[in-house]
């Protein structure tokens, strides 16, 4: 079936670059974002961001301004509407303006860069995001992260890490970060900057100060490489995934900072053993994963956990849910097992 979006098919169903870019730019508190396109595009994303913010107990709404292109703008060109909107945004005295284009604007061929260059009053950062013409949702995320990284200059490094490319539309985004911070805390290493989640332009200027970048996952590898090139900051390419992967994560971070990992690893292994005891009641059952075709990392974690609990995987097993992104860290696995237990006992 090619008509419904599946997580595995990323070419045609990869989502909108505009939404990806907005999931990043709207996290900068003292900047506004202009969406150059019909106002429907802005509403769709405003509503989506509003919903995901509420899911994360945040009531604040992003500052989006649509150029509100009408039929006549589309026929005669929308550059005038963009200039007018930029002038209005400048009057809001924000720290920076992000300009994001849409697929219709790319189709009609507006010279968005030229209009942005004619607004010298405050930094105007053009982020390539022409809807589906600019690639996928993840391209939008990466384009935005790379463009915003250019705001920061190299600076003195300290004993911190940056967290790079969190999935801001993810339902468990805060819980995933908390898990990473807990593991870092066990090693005594603080987080310098969440690039990019709920921060100011001033916070972003500290981007180069971390000694290590921790990427959310391989989808932002290009951003990690660019930051390594620009700030000479090495990176770990994923949040901790799976029981063994979480132990490996602790060791990698510890090695990177030259600190001992043994106590933190011991503590984590104890926690993992406790979890396996907590879920002994579902040991030995038979399950099938729902949906069956899931990202490989998610599958690997599910198999690893099933192996620890002697759970067999087969077509006649009880259907247990898997999420699109793999659970993060040891506590992510605990959440997953609660959902499995609910399904098995249903």
């Amino acid at each position: 079936m090619t008509l419904n979006p599946l997580p595995l098919n990323i070419s045609r169903f990869g989502g909108c670059t505009l939404t990806g870019a907005l999931s990043v730019t709207t996290q900068v508190r003292d900047a506004v974002t202009i969406i150059h396109g019909p106002k429907g595009c802005a509403h769709h994303n405003f509503s989506l961001l509003h919903a995901t913010a509420l899911d994360n107990d945040r009531v604040s709404l992003p500052d989006l301004i649509s150029t509100g292109l009408s039929e006549s703008d589309i026929i005669f060109g929308g550059e005038g509407a963009l200039k007018k909107t930029l002038d209005m945004a400048v009057r809001q005295n924000s720290g920076a303006i992000f300009v994001l284009s849409t697929c219709i604007v790319d189709t009609i061929g507006d010279d968005v860069a030229a209009v942005c260059h004619r607004t010298p009053e405050i930094p105007v950062i053009l982020i390539p995001s022409a809807g589906f013409l600019g690639g996928t949702f993840q391209n939008g995320v990466n384009n935005a992260l790379n463009a915003i990284a250019d705001i920061a200059d190299p600076c003195q490094k300290g004993p911190y890490v940056n967290v790079i490319g969190e999935k801001n539309l993810e339902y468990e985004v805060e819980e995933n970060f908390t898990e990473v911070r807990r593991l870092l805390g066990a090693l005594g290493i603080p987080v310098n900057l969440r690039f990019l989640r709920d921060c100011s332009l001033h916070d972003i200027s500290r981007l180069g100060a971390a000694r290590l970048n921790i990427l959310r996952d391989g989808e932002v590898r290009a951003v990690g490489e660019r930051l390594q090139y620009r700030f000479d900051t090495p990176f770990i390419q994923s949040f901790p995934i799976g029981f063994a992967g979480t132990i490996r994560f602790i060791q990698e971070v510890a090695d990177s900072f030259g600190v001992k990992s043994t106590p933190a690893v011991r503590e984590e292994k104890n926690l993992q053993d406790e979890i396996l005891i907590e879920f002994e009641d579902i040991a030995g059952t038979s399950v099938m994963f729902d949906p069956p075709g899931m990202a490989s990392d998610t599958f690997l974690v599910a198999h690893e956990v099933a192996g620890h609990l002697d759970i067999t995987i087969g077509h006649d097993g009880c259907r247990v849910p898997l999420q699109v992104s793999p659970p993060v860290g040891t506590n992510g696995i605990r959440h997953m097992l609660h959902r499995w237990r609910r399904a098995i006992h249903a």
Partner: protein
């Protein structure tokens, strides 16, 4: 169209999808990118399909992709409706001729052509609704999947019609497709913003006063109808509302209120609050073009204007969507307008009918009293 900060209302494409996907027997295909598909798919919770076009289809044409999708969908007995989005609409392709070999309905309602109501009306017009004088009963219109209260409205008005011994005709737009072409001769509305213009309009169902007028009229026009039980229920529930509101007013002042909604729901809320609570309706920010009313009203389509109005009027009570609630979560708030995010709603709540008035007043009194605690 001027620039707009945080636009509050969906585009025409979403409206067309909302109309068409309300009908069983229609497969709705969004002809556009995955980005245009995802929003109505998540908003409407309907099984939409998409062409998910890519850059090469913009350059070389989308005909092949459209055929690929239609081939895959054809043959299941359902009518396929193709809804145009912005980019395909300006490519200059002769989509109609591309589709000539298929039994397909084409709705040209790109996002830039207007708001949700525009797209809804275009799609409904494309379905060519018509009256069959032999069809018994009364149609219900104003149902739109975009409106989270739509399902509750249909259920409530169907209940009341059954109570009055009147069969339900076609429900616009929440019915089987074949019923579009043989609607009953008369229609009552649940939300005038999504009125169908099909058949003779007997009146609306928002608010007990309007409901009473409409059912009295039904009684006078249909010899087999017995509106008595409905009118009795209206009277009984009206008394309950009066008692609850009267008790509230013994301790509290009437709420100073601003309302943000579509014109139809907004005026329902204003009349209801004025009538039962002597509320001061400070302003109505209508999401769509407002009609005539004695209340102070304007067309408000951006979030910055909402914030400005709330700051200006400093109301006790806000009626609106979760956008409005986010301006000041400490204020008394009642959700009436989509989207109402951040709360879980599983039961079918109504705005129309007797249940609608009861729910609205109940929510209002509870919100006002909770705020005072």
């Amino acid at each position: 169209m001027p620039e707009c900060e945080n636009p509050l209302w969906p585009c025409a494409m979403s409206g067309a999808a909302a109309c068409l996907s309300g009908f069983e027997g229609v497969t709705v295909v969004i002809h556009g990118s995955s980005g245009c598909y995802y929003y109505p798919a998540t908003l409407l919770h309907a099984p939409l399909k998409g062409t998910f076009i890519l850059e090469n289809e913009v350059i070389f044409g989308s005909e092949q992709r459209l055929h690929e999708v239609l081939e895959e969908l054809s043959g299941d007995g359902k009518k396929i409706a193709v809804v145009m989005t912005c980019v395909p609409a300006i490519l200059g392709e002769d989509i109609r001729s591309m589709l000539r070999d298929y039994d397909v309905l084409l709705v040209d309602s790109p996002g830039f052509s207007g708001d949700v109501e525009t797209g809804y009306q275009k799609a409904l017009f494309a379905l060519v609704p018509s009256v069959d004088p032999d069809t018994p009963g009364i149609n219900i219109d104003g149902a739109c999947l975009f409106d989270p209260y739509s399902g509750g409205n249909v259920r409530e008005i169907s209940r009341l019609l059954a109570h009055a011994s009147v069969p339900v005709g076609t429900i616009f737009c929440s019915d089987r497709l074949e019923r579009v072409g043989n609607a009953a001769a008369c229609t009552i509305g649940t939300n005038e913003d999504f009125a169908s213009s099909v058949g003779e309009r007997l009146g609306g169902t928002l608010g007990l006063e309007e409901l009473k007028t409409t059912f009295t009229r039904i009684g006078s026009l249909f010899s087999e109808a017995d509106p008595g039980p409905v009118l009795e229920e209206i009277e009984r529930e009206d008394e309950r509302i009066v008692r609850a509101c009267d008790k509230f007013l013994r301790r509290f002042d009437p709420p100073h209120t601003v309302i943000f909604s579509g014109f139809s729901y907004a005026t329902f809320a204003a009349y209801t609050l004025k009538h039962y609570l002597d509320a001061d309706i400070q302003y109505i920010g209508s999401r769509n073009e407002p009609g005539a009313t004695s209340f102070h009203i304007g067309h408000v389509h951006g979030f910055s204007k909402v914030k400005e109005l709330i700051r200006h009027y400093n109301p006790d009570l806000i009626i609106g969507s979760s956008f409005e609630r986010s301006v000041d979560p400490k204020r008394a708030f009642v959700g009436l307008t989509p989207p109402v995010r951040g709360t879980i709603k599983l039961a079918p709540h109504a705005v129309a009918g007797i249940s609608g008035s009861l729910s609205f007043i109940e929510d209002t009194l509870n919100a006002c009293m909770d705020r005072r605690k």
